[in-house]
């Protein structure tokens, strides 16, 4: 399999619609290589170029092609090796979304980020969660290299947040911590061939739940 072909189509499928720079980050490829690959995907009918937006979008044929390639890339034995880390990801995912909510909302109103104490406390909690997530992402990366890129991007987002970039926590379409985390979650669901309903059933059967 052409790795660039898979990586770019995989990134495009996860993001749905995105600009080449953002796809290059997710795919871990040079932007020029990504553009060349996007053009090949377009010729094959797997992607369309939305010139006014400067964006690329996956087509239904592209999703089908991606499903074939992903099945080759992550066959059942690899999926079995991803599951233990995924099961550790799920509770972290829940904690993370709670943290996002605390970052966005205070006392029922939007957080206006004028209280450095509150923000610093939430960022510190994100730092703790990040430390817990690192070995989980590391284990995923041990099964498939692409998961290492999520770890690197999450590191960078946390760094930007520490440097005072408020958007880097829950910002939208700016490679924020939440943007990246949501992609990682999506990648896991696609790779494990799970849908959200199956995930909920899995969550319900784990831990103290029924």
């Amino acid at each position: 399999m052409n790795l660039c072909h898979f990586d770019v189509l995989h990134a495009l499928t996860i993001k749905g619609m995105a600009q080449p720079g953002a796809l290059a980050l997710t795919a871990g490829q040079d932007q020029d290589d990504v553009l060349r690959e996007l053009d090949r995907l377009r010729q094959d009918g797997y992607a369309v170029h939305l010139e006014r937006r400067g964006s690329w979008r996956v087509t239904p044929q592209g999703r089908d092609r991606h499903a074939e390639l992903l099945a080759d890339d992550t066959p059942a034995p690899a999926r079995d090796r991803l599951y233990p880390a995924y099961d550790r990801f799920l509770p972290l995912n829940h904690q993370f979304k709670g943290l996002c909510t605390r970052w966005q909302v205070r006392g029922g109103a939007p957080n206006d980020h004028t209280d450095p104490g509150h923000d610093a406390a939430v960022i510190a909690q994100l730092g703790e969660l990040h430390a817990e997530a690192e070995p989980v992402v590391g284990d995923l990366a041990g099964v498939r290299d692409r998961f290492a890129r999520y770890g690197e991007r999450l590191d960078r987002a946390l760094g930007r947040l520490h440097a005072g970039e408020v958007n880097a926590f829950t910002g939208v379409l700016c490679d924020s911590y939440h943007d990246i985390w949501m992609e990682l979650h999506r990648d896991l669901l696609l790779s494990l061939k799970l849908d959200r309903a199956e995930e909920e059933a899995r969550q319900a059967s784990a831990g103290v739940g029924r």
């Binding site: 996860i14 993001k15 619609m17 605390r102 006392g107 829950t170 999506r186 103290v208």
Partner: protein
């Protein structure tokens, strides 16, 4: 319900008419059962009833240790709260049940209760005391929920049994919940049942009954078990499962991102769907990252799945668009056929507007594929 059967198993058939015989706590548990919630196996000794021969002995086959709780005819009603004033005995061996039942009944006549009734002006009515028997297990966590509004309240919890918590004898972990989800808390994390925050489960109970409520619950190794339900409403009534939701023009979901917006309903098959128009109300079963570009163009977002903490809620809040999550698939299908929608993200409602509503002129066109 009569008294001549002695001890009876609590079922969902108990209603407000049975209050004089089984007391408020039993009614609350029956209402929870009707709403599909998990409660402990419960036997009721109605007011004035005595166990028939052999009944208590047979309970020993069910469990070795028991909780013996009061269910007074005046307790847990909407008007007065006698919370904590009547006796509860925990971890009672089966052989000790007769004596424990007597002590719980006697607490109806205690000086503390008499004083409270004098203070509250309730002394004209007598207190009848039914007794509830439940197998006793030490919980992993115990919690109380103090409902303030339909989606707001305070959860307090401790590891282990809840006696000290209810008595106010310990400083519990706490969480404040609002329509936007968890808004504040002590630094103990969020109490979970499985992977669901217990606070969300409490809000869901309130929404089921359409009223704020005080709740008591325990997390056992089998999951969340509800111990008490005291709604702040005039009657507990029947759970709303008999309501004909299919005809409703207002759909209730979870308030995930505040604000109001109106727009045409569009439920795109995928992000390339040519029916999508910027400024429309985006309907989605759930949202994955690939929906974010459409969310950024939407007037509001409504999802079938999810709660206050889902990715869609986080993205919607960030974008500043109203968002209602968790309306369910049947409601989403109804909304998709509804034409124009008014989304109130603050209230967590989506209304189907009549066709005559004014329609703003549109110049935006979809991106051609």
């Amino acid at each position: 319900m009569t008294t001549d059967q002695g001890l009876v198993r609590l079922t969902e058939s108990l209603g407000d008419d049975d209050r004089a015989l089984v007391g408020g706590k039993a009614l609350g548990l029956a209402a929870l059962l009707r709403a599909g919630r998990v409660i402990p196996a419960t036997w009721v000794l109605p007011v004035g009833a005595e166990p028939t021969p052999g009944q208590l002995e047979r309970l020993a086959d069910h469990a070795p240790r028991w909780a013996v709780r009061s269910s007074a005819t005046v307790e847990d009603g909407p008007a007065l709260s006698y919370a904590g004033m009547f006796r509860t005995e925990l971890d009672v061996p089966a052989a000790g049940l007769p004596a424990a039942i007597e002590r719980v009944r006697a607490s109806a006549r205690s000086s503390r209760v008499t004083a409270y009734r004098m203070w509250s002006g309730a002394r004209g009515r007598g207190v009848g005391m039914a007794v509830l028997l439940q197998p006793f297990r030490v919980p992993a966590f115990s919690a109380v929920w103090l409902g303030r509004g339909l989606a707001t309240g305070r959860l307090e919890w401790v590891a282990g049994g809840g006696e000290a918590l209810v008595a106010g004898a310990v400083t519990p972990a706490w969480e404040e919940w609002a329509s936007t989800g968890l808004v504040d808390g002590s630094h103990h994390g969020v109490l979970l049942s499985g992977r669901q925050p217990v606070g969300e489960a409490c809000v869901a109970v309130q929404r089921t009954f359409g009223a704020p409520a005080d709740l008591e619950l325990a997390i056992l190794d089998g999951g969340l078990v509800w111990l008490q339900f005291r709604p702040m409403t005039t009657r507990i009534g029947m759970a709303p499962r008999h309501r004909d939701a299919a005809q409703a023009h207002v759909v209730q979901g979870v308030s995930a991102s505040a604000g109001q917006a109106t727009g045409d309903a569009v439920w795109p098959r995928d992000i390339a769907d040519i029916r999508w128009r910027p400024g429309a109300v985006l309907l989605a079963e759930q949202t994955d990252p690939d929906w974010v570009p459409l969310m950024a163009e939407a007037a509001a977002l409504v999802t079938a799945a999810g709660g206050m903490l889902c990715h869609a809620a986080i993205v919607a809040r960030e974008l500043g668009i109203p968002c209602v999550t968790g309306v369910g698939m049947p409601a989403l299908e109804r909304l998709a056929a509804g034409g124009r929608l008014a989304v109130d993200g603050t209230a967590g409602t989506v209304s189907i507007l009549p066709p005559s509503s004014p329609r703003p002129h549109r110049t935006l066109r979809p991106e051609g594929a």
